[in-house]
């Protein structure tokens, strides 16, 4: 909402010392937030001049300039005519124009000086609207009305250039402040000065005779006012003050009749529509649209109507979208002489829905959908008639049609100490009562510290005791709220899951991985890039009805795309290697039907809440890792190593070790991994995810180094498996006995299988087992490999004898032979 300061001051008697800054500070403190202040960027002298002579002088370049002498009175200090060169032609000797003299500055820091041009000394400039920064409409010179003043008069006041325009951000609950009436009321409240309410008017008695109006839907249209004028001069110009104020408010000046309806809307907040009465056929009606109906609105759009849209009709059918935008068939034109003025109060919800349905935002709709004072329609129509008569030469036809009445406001009962209790400020009962009266409410004191409050008509947002509290507290001042820490919180600290999540992050960062946060939006192309086959479960997504990009219309089922893009970005920016991780939500459709919408007056039952939760997608937390390029750097110490499948598994095992979880690893083939270098990671046989080298096609698709590796795990499952309370380990300090064994097995036998067999055979004396070498080559038959294990034995209570250790080793080897065909070398 843009409000000229001069207009505010016209409605409220602000003390002179209240500067615009003081005013905006106070209004911001009351809840009308300052967005910005527009002011003319002009320094004088800027005066009225009378053109005395105008000599056209054709130039070599084909242009014709005018060499003028202009009477600027005493403004130039000499009283002599001022010689000025002017390129425009839309004025004549005798006209009053606006002249800026040397030393003045126009918007854009355009400093005016006497200068030689086209063979003359041009001492100043005759200004256009555009040069003055007060309009865009015409390029020509601004010619003032003959009665504008005398040469030499300062024009700042005349053109409103001394006026500042305050732009406010108006919150939805302060729709009344979308008018000068509302802004001025707040200013009066803020400075405790009188307010001249422009809505206080003496109205004629309603007789229904202005025009026949039939309201079929009183719920949608509780009040409808109509007035008629005739003899209007469609050529009458808009008076300068109306035009200026409409433009200051950010609207375009169109024609006198339209400008007046907009002016009154700005003044009072009541949207008004003017019809060319000669184009309206029969009675005006208000009803919901019927199936299949349509209307052409003022913006020339043909709109198919919904049965929920409120429309204005005449005998021809719908002629406008009620409260939102008028129709083309009854639009006022350059030949309109009879104007039917409509001002109505509309159901805000219906206005909102219609605006949204037709994607229509208008100044009228903006106000109607937030709620307008229902007492205004008759007043606004009367004010419009007054201005049409005054400035358009029209005659007010007798008759005032007023259908319906403003709904009664219900009284709200509140305890007088409620504002004090909820604000923590020491607010007396008297302050509460006075503040509520100051905002326009009717307050009746009850016994026992309670009052009954009827909110003013222009405040549809006030319905609850707490709404009244806000009014009282904003008047007392939000800056009065003391600062007191509550002392009763007795929380139990972070949950186990929250602590585990931090632990996972720290472990991964400790392993040299950098965390990434990426967007979860994906599309088919994303999955194609990962090489996922058609029908892959990861392609079954939770779709978005209104995605930002049609390329990525779904919530992701895997964290890898975001990580791979980030890795690719780093590599593209010159990183020799990158190790990234991310934890986050992925989503899978639940297909349990729609989530219910419940009422809000009582708490839903447990069963109802359960239904809500069941309708939501399954949303596990995942953990993903991407390792690309150099993992250990080359340097003066020697060569570096690139990331590969082992690094991926090392990350998984490091994490598992930190969480005290035993993970099992087995071969798997799953895109986007290399089919021969992909491990399935599980806990107690329950799948956790995959780790290994990426498929070469995926590395290529993302522009990553060959052999880049990745991990994706179900973080929820991993954290659930973490030991709750780790029992202290029991270990022996007796001497260690070492035995190394080398076993030859078929190449297809896994290390895990051999190790498990050794472990099983070695028995309780085995403390640890570790593979330290894998050999294939000349000394081994083709198709076989030699695995060297270090076995470590220790007893809890004694030094082991060589015989005991040897026996345990032999038993281990024997079991390995039995289960895996291993032969000791």
């Amino acid at each position: 909402m843009k409000a000229p300061v001069s207009w505010i001051r016209e409605l409220v008697d602000l003390p002179a010392e209240v500067t615009t800054e003081v005013l905006t500070d106070r209004l911001t403190a009351l809840g009308l937030k300052l967005e910005g202040i527009d002011s003319a960027d002009i320094t004088g002298p800027l005066v009225i001049g009378r053109v005395l002579t105008k000599e056209p002088e054709p130039q070599k370049n084909g242009k014709t300039i005018n060499w003028c002498t202009v009477d600027v009175g005493e403004a130039n200090g000499t009283g002599e005519p001022q010689g000025i060169v002017c390129g425009a032609h839309n004025f004549a000797p005798g006209d009053l124009v606006v002249v800026i003299l040397p030393g003045g500055v126009l918007p854009g820091n355009f400093v005016i000086s006497a200068r030689k041009t086209y063979g003359h000394v041009s001492a100043g400039m005759i200004c256009s609207v555009r040069e003055l920064g007060i309009g865009e409409d015409h390029d020509g010179i601004l010619v003032l009305p003959p009665d504008a003043g005398v040469p030499g008069d300062d024009v700042f006041g005349l053109l409103g250039l001394d006026d500042e325009v305050i732009e406010f951000e108006i919150n939805p609950d302060r729709a009344y402040a979308l008018s000068l009436r509302g802004v001025a009321r707040e200013a009066a409240l803020g400075f405790g000065v009188p307010f001249a309410d422009p809505a206080v008017r003496e109205l004629p008695a309603a007789d229904g005779k202005a025009w026949e109006v039939v309201v079929d839907d009183p719920a949608g249209c509780p009040v409808f006012a109509a007035r008629l004028v005739s003899g209007f001069d469609p050529a009458a110009p808009t008076p300068e003050f109306i035009k200026r104020r409409v433009e200051q408010a950010g609207m375009r000046s169109i024609s006198l009749a339209v400008d007046i309806t907009n002016y009154v809307m700005l003044e009072l907040g009541q949207p008004i529509h003017g019809y060319d009465a000669d184009k309206v056929v029969g009675a005006l009606g208000v009803r919901r649209a019927r199936e299949g109906e349509q209307v052409t609105t003022l913006d020339d759009a043909v709109r198919k109507l919904s049965v929920e849209d409120l429309v204005i009709t005449d005998d021809s059918g719908p002629i406008g979208l009620a409260g939102v935008m008028g129709g083309a068939t009854t639009e006022m034109s350059g030949s309109t002489t009879r104007i039917l003025v409509e001002a109505a109060h509309w159901d805000a919800v219906s206005m909102f829905r219609t605006g949204r349905r037709h994607k229509l935002t208008s100044e009228a709709g903006k106000r109607n959908e937030r709620g307008v004072d229902p007492l205004l329609p008759g007043v606004a129509a009367d004010r419009v008639v007054e201005l049409l008569v005054e400035h358009g030469g029209a005659t007010a036809e007798p008759g005032f049609t007023l259908v319906g009445t403003a709904p009664e406001r219900t009284a709200i009962t509140i305890a007088t100490d409620l504002p004090a209790r909820l604000s923590g400020i020491d607010i007396t009962a008297m302050t509460t009562v006075e503040s509520l009266r100051a905002v326009g409410a009717t307050v009746t004191e009850q016994d026992a510290g309670t009052i009954e409050v009827v909110p003013p008509a222009w405040r549809p947002d006030i319905n609850d005791p707490y709404d009244l509290v806000e009014e009282v507290v904003r008047i007392v001042g939000y800056d009065q709220v003391p600062s007191v820490l509550p002392r009763r919180a007795t929380g139990r600290g972070l949950t186990r899951t929250q602590r585990l999540r931090r632990r996972v992050g720290r472990t991964l960062a400790g392993a040299g991985l950098v965390e990434v946060v990426s967007f979860p939006f994906v599309g088919e192309a994303t999955f194609d890039k990962l090489g996922l086959p058609a029908g892959d479960p990861l392609r079954v997504t939770v779709g978005l009805a209104n995605p930002l990009s049609s390329e990525e219309p779904a919530y992701t089922t895997t964290l890898l795309p975001g990580l791979l893009e980030a890795a690719s970005r780093n590599v593209g920016r010159g990183a020799p290697g990158v190790a990234l991780f991310e934890t986050g939500t992925v989503a899978f459709p639940a297909d349990n039907g729609a989530a219910p919408i419940y009422g809000v007056h009582t708490r839903p039952s447990e069963a109802e809440l359960e239904k809500l939760v069941e309708a939501l997608p399954v949303q596990p937390q995942h953990l993903a890792v991407v390792l690309a390029g150099e993992r250990r750097r080359a340097g003066w110490w020697g060569a570096g190593t690139d990331a590969g499948w082992t690094d991926a598994l090392a990350v998984v095992r490091r994490l598992a070790a930190d969480l005290g979880v035993r993970v099992e690893v087995g071969a798997a083939a799953r895109m986007p991994w290399h089919p021969g270098r992909c491990a399935l990671v599980s806990i107690d046989g329950v799948q956790l995810g995959h780790a290994g080298e990426l498929h070469p096609s995926v590395c290529a698709a993302y522009g990553l180094p060959a052999r880049s590796a990745a991990v994706e795990l179900d973080l929820d499952a991993l954290m659930a498996a973490a030991a709750d309370v780790t029992p202290g380990p029991d270990f022996s300090t007796m001497p260690l006995a070492k035995e190394d064994v080398a076993l030859v097995v078929d190449a297809g036998v896994t290390v895990a299988a051999v190790e498990a067999a050794l472990r099983e055979g070695a028995g309780d004396l085995l403390e640890s087992i570790r593979l330290f070498d894998v050999y294939t080559g000349e000394q081994i038959e083709e198709g076989q490999k030699s695995l060297a294990f270090a076995l470590r034995f220790r007893a809890p209570d004694r030094t082991l004898t060589e015989a005991e250790t040897g026996a345990a080793r032999d038993a281990a080897v024997a079991r390995a032979a039995e289960l895996t065909g291993a032969v000791q070398r």
Binding site: R488, A489, G491, L548, G584
Partner: protein, 374 residues
């Protein structure tokens, strides 16, 4: 100087003269003193104190002397040998120390060589920032509540007093999941977590609600330097007996000073949020100019706050009783406050970030700058 005598026969030899003995001792002491390193000292030891050294031979001759001469000869030889052994030991010690010192010198390295074989990891500031905020509240006895990012429309809107026709529903430009009439959205704020907390926990006199809810939220904003379709919020909710705006102010002032430093405080301005009534915008003392609105000492205005001395931080207010009602809490008995602000925006202030997008690009140079804690 007498050298070793290979065909020595003690029986035939006469007693060592004191002069010879002295000469042998002096020769030994001189050789010891001359030994430049442990190798040389070893040779000296075998020459002058070994089995075949003159002093050893002299010692052996003592037994062949007549008894009356033995005592004196024994004493003389013993003294000479003692002096030599002592000198040897002393020299050994000196040379060993020199040797060790030399090795340490020789082993010196250029400690300025790079040691960056292993990469350095880091956690994302959005993670550690949310943790820092959580810790500030946990220290006050609050708990951290969480909820799903894909949420029921009723919990994201209706329960929070944003009815189906509330203008805020379009103001917030929500992502709807398909089909749209399934009433499931990407949550537009973390407020549904507050609703869930009230619905599942309820409030009793013994167990008031003090929860903080950090999390990821979504709105259909185009991606630019200050907007993102995904961002992070932290919201707080306190429900207890006698809660007022003063408690809200106290909590936010504490939060502000913990997050930005002593002297940073908050200011309330009337505002509107469906969830709260009365509602307020929260401004934060500009931590760059610390409220002066000026750039440094000079006359220029502060760029961060444009001379205001305050920057917009978030929204807050007293929980609207309609919300308490929908969530099954006795609004006659309990009152509450709620607040919410962007974590991304808070971090942009705190760390002077110019472009929101740096948070989501995943450039390791950005993230590693923050280490593993904020």
């Amino acid at each position: 100087m007498s050298g070793p005598n290979t065909d020595y026969d003690p029986v035939e030899v006469a007693a060592v003269s004191p002069a010879e003995l002295e000469a042998a001792r002096d020769a030994a002491l001189a050789a010891i003193a001359d030994a430049a390193d442990l190798e040389q000292l070893k040779a000296v030891r075998s020459e002058h104190a070994g089995d075949r050294s003159p002093l050893a031979l002299a010692n052996r001759e003592i037994g062949a002397l007549p008894p009356q001469a033995r005592k004196e000869a024994g004493q003389r030889v013993g003294q000479a040998r003692g002096a030599v052994n002592q000198a040897l030991a002393a020299r050994q010690e000196v040379l060993e120390a020199e040797h060790e010192a030399r090795i340490l010198v020789e082993e010196a390295v250029d400690v300025t060589l790079p040691t960056d074989e292993l990469p350095v990891g880091a956690r994302h500031p959005l993670t550690t920032g949310a943790e820092l905020i959580a810790d500030i509240f946990v220290a006050m006895g609050w708990e951290v509540a969480e909820g799903p990012v894909i949420e029921a429309e009723w919990l994201n809107f209706d329960a929070l007093n944003l009815g189906p026709d509330h203008p805020a529903r379009t103001m917030q430009d929500t992502f709807w999941t398909e089909p749209a009439d399934n009433h499931v959205v990407l949550r537009t704020h973390t407020s549904p977590v507050q609703a869930r907390t009230m619905l599942t926990r309820g409030v009793t006199e013994e167990a008031p609600i003090y929860v903080v809810c950090p999390g990821r939220v979504f709105r259909t904003d185009e991606y630019d330097a200050t907007h993102s379709p995904m961002f992070h919020q932290v919201e707080g909710l306190a429900i207890d007996e006698g809660i007022s705006m003063a408690h809200l102010k106290g909590t936010l002032d504490h939060f502000a000073s913990q997050m930005f430093g002593e002297g940073i405080t908050t200011r309330f301005r009337p505002s509107y949020f469906p969830f709260t009534e009365p509602s307020a915008e929260v401004d934060l003392t500009c931590f760059v100019c610390r409220g002066t609105g000026l750039k440094g000492e000079g006359p220029d205005t502060c760029r961060t706050c444009r001379g205001e001395g305050w920057i917009e931080w978030g929204g807050c207010g007293i929980v609207n009783p309609r919300v308490l009602q929908a969530c099954g809490i006795d609004s006659e008995r309990y009152s509450g406050f709620a607040f919410g602000m962007g974590i991304d925006r808070t971090l942009m202030f705190r760390h002077g970030l110019e472009d929101l997008r740096t948070l989501f690009e995943g450039d390791v140079r950005f993230t590693t700058a923050f280490g593993s804690e904020l």
